[in-house]
Symmetry: C2
């Protein structure tokens, strides 16, 4: 795709063949230094051209006094110079044939009317020359695809390749989510934090990721939606192909006021209006932890066809917490069919609770879990299973884990795994899930929330 | 206290001078083996007397054929024999002078009418002999006080001494919370999971912990409150002395039905009725993660005198998330006084947002944070501060952390710290907080929820 001259304009942003850094620097701890080093550290697959008025070398790379001095073609340029110089540099980029400019520099719309005028000037240049702008006042992008390795960004997270793409209006929020996914051992596909987004906006990037087959799920953080109509239209279209998990902040009066300050006081769009989520058919979240945990599930766990959940637990309490959460999030916990109940009564301890939740009891071993999972998954009234497991010291937990992994691989219904344990002592048990690519959740309420979100999406695409 | 013969009856449970284990075993992976080993591993400070019909040694300790054969006085006895044998063994314990019996054995009220009759028999024995019962169908207790080290329980968590006491009707839920607190590096004071609670109940333990000066905060998980009147009365009384964080499960129809099954189908009390929390003046939670994180804060962070919060952030987005959460949880984010604003305008970058939240900008260094914290804490309109910090690579984050620690030590207002970072690369920064005993939160919404809960409690006790 990177060889195709007629490719999508955003290929120049996310799959650039070359990157210039205008405002590159040898001074450590500057953005102009960090971006060059990030590109080097991630082993960006194309040439990097630092631009510096005086230095002829930046971080060991040949540097050029201006973008016009750069010998090769430049797909993407970072602009990190002082805000008043940005329009001139942007024009120079356009003349050079740069396709997209990431303007990291701040001091535009977000600082008031004067900055807004400067930003309008950038938009004018873009419209007249055809160069596209990402930003200003933004972090940049990441493409963790090993064919590209574009770390065009000054954040600290080491992205590992994966299937989750993150759009975040706020760089800080994007960074927190990206970092959390890394911590959880999950990878990133692409990342974009647009800041003021004066030109390339969320819907354009959503459309691009909608067509990117390795983006399996999209996380989207927004504070202000400038053009709600077009956003809704695009989000609807893309979420038919893959789930969009959205966090819309500024839903309270003080929150909205803070968004206004954050955006320079000029709000023209809809802020923190969560009804946008319903209108767009996306999944709404209010917690960064929940949005990250749910994204992981969409990558690794099958999507349920409906909202009828069966719970299998080996301790009553966590099963009840899960039942409360699932039920409140709109899932059903149907009574099991008589056939299923009979199978369970045969297979489990006589004191086991054969209902929904099924309480197999703490003493249940691998064969009990196998039987309970098979019976639940075989029940036509159940669309997905929440497996709630506190690891008892007297049970062969590793074999239980292997059973779950095996059954998971064979069924078309999802099993969301809540594994409550000491991560050190039961490390081998957790590793069995990890090796099979099955995420585990440490608390029943989070597993339940994840399964509820998946059910909501599953029901939508199945209808 | 342990020498005082006239001490509180629950001293025999939580500070026993000696423990017998009736049903102790040399067979690994049995409860009777695990309890003996837990007592040994935690170095219980009194003698342990295993009771076994045949073996004369259990885990290296002299074992006795019955409780009456035990040579010394026995404060506390575990009973792990078959359910139908429990009444006989309990009577024997009473004759021996045992003060409290932890009946771990299951197969009572929770399995139906026959079990309920057996349980009623236990209560009758207790009433007539004076022996007190903890359980049946329960895990047991822990007292992590190094003077006692009573691990009278078969769970896996290694308790470290601390200031949080956990009451949990469900052993599974108690274990998840205890384990999470350990993971977070926080300690436990006492732990009790009562199961069927036929005699010693939640309110009696709450009263005891209310008088225990080293219990600074109580976590309480309940599925069913048998005697709501007396519970409310006790919870009100205790929560005037220290915060009670309560999780009441079974709030939905399916949840309540699961509680009924879990408790043997005979519900006489109030299930999942969260209005109990309001009536009792305790703080209600629906998430195990939030209850644990809030408990930590009550141990380490000062309690605010009211609900007026100031936010200091170095990235807009997380500050807005915190503003939404705080505001929704009933906190106010007052506009700063003119005096405070003037101080901030002088001290911060010219582009900084001088409002509430204060956005000091990502480039803010130690002196900017110091100034912002001093100004906010000095503002009489502010009761507590949420410090929201994404660690930029170009900022001396360790010095920022040291500033926060120093200021925290001097002020009587709380600073709740949200530190969003790569835990490996910024390990030294996090360690500065940890060394000072200041918990840090990884997501703005959790920090906000914690501060909101503290504010609610602070306002109550201050009024």
């Amino acid at each position: 795709m990177r060889e195709d001259k007629n490719s999508h304009i955003l290929d120049f942003l996310f799959r650039p063949r070359s990157v210039a850094v205008i405002g590159a620097s040898n001074r450590l701890l500057t953005i102009g230094n960090r971006i060059v080093r990030n590109l080097q550290n991630m082993q960006f697959t194309g040439p990097v051209y630092p631009v510096h008025p005086k230095d002829s070398q930046i971080e060991g790379l040949a540097a050029y006094p201006s973008i016009s001095h750069v010998p090769g073609e430049v797909d993407l340029a970072h602009i990190i110079v002082k805000n008043v110089q940005v329009p001139r540099v942007l024009e120079e980029c356009a003349r050079k044939g740069v396709k997209v400019a990431i303007i990291n520099t701040a001091g535009f719309k977000e600082v008031g009317p004067e900055g807004a005028r400067l930003e309008a000037e950038l938009v004018r240049i873009a419209r007249s020359t055809g160069i596209r702008i990402f930003g200003p006042n933004c972090q940049g992008i990441i493409n963790a695809d090993p064919e590209v390795n574009a770390y065009c960004n000054f954040t600290f997270t080491k992205p590992r390749p994966g299937y989750i793409s993150i759009f975040s209006q706020s760089g800080g929020v994007g960074e927190v989510m990206n970092n959390r996914l890394c911590e959880l051992g999950d990878g990133l596909r692409m990342y974009a934090s647009t800041g003021n987004a004066c030109d390339i906006n969320c819907q354009e990037i959503l459309a691009y990721w909608g067509d990117d087959s390795d983006t399996r799920v999209i996380i989207c953080h927004l504070e202000n939606i400038e053009d709600p109509e077009s956003f809704i239209q695009m989000a609807q279209k893309v979420s038919e192909k893959k789930p969009i998990l959205m966090m819309l902040t500024g839903r309270t009066r003080v929150g909205a006021q803070a968004v206004a300050f954050h955006c320079g006081g000029q709000l023209t769009g809809r802020v923190g209006d969560e009804s946008l989520a319903t209108e767009s058919g996306v999944l709404a979240f209010r917690s960064l932890e929940e949005i990250c945990q749910t994204a992981r599930a969409f990558v690794h766990v099958k999507i349920p066809r409906g909202r009828r959940v069966g719970i299998i637990t080996n301790t009553g309490g966590p099963g009840i917490i899960a039942a409360d959460e699932l039920s409140e999030a709109g899932c059903e916990l149907p009574e099991l069919s008589e056939a299923t109940k009979n199978i369970l009564k045969q297979a489990l301890h006589p004191e086991a609770i054969v209902s929904n939740p099924v309480d197999v009891l703490a003493t249940a071993g691998p064969k009990h879990f196998r039987a309970a999972l098979a019976a639940m998954l075989g029940d036509p009234k159940i669309d997905g299973v929440l497996f709630s497991f506190v690891t008892p010291f007297f049970v062969d937990c590793e074999t239980v884990a292997r059973e779950v992994v095996q059954i998971s691989a064979k069924t078309h219904k999802p099993i969301v795994c809540v594994v409550m344990t000491d991560k050190t002592l039961w490390g081998a048990t957790l590793q069995i899930f990890r090796n099979a690519g099955i995420p585990t959740y440490s608390q029943p309420e989070i597993g339940a929330k994840v399964l509820a979100a998946m059910s909501k999406y599953g029901e939508k695409i199945d209808s």
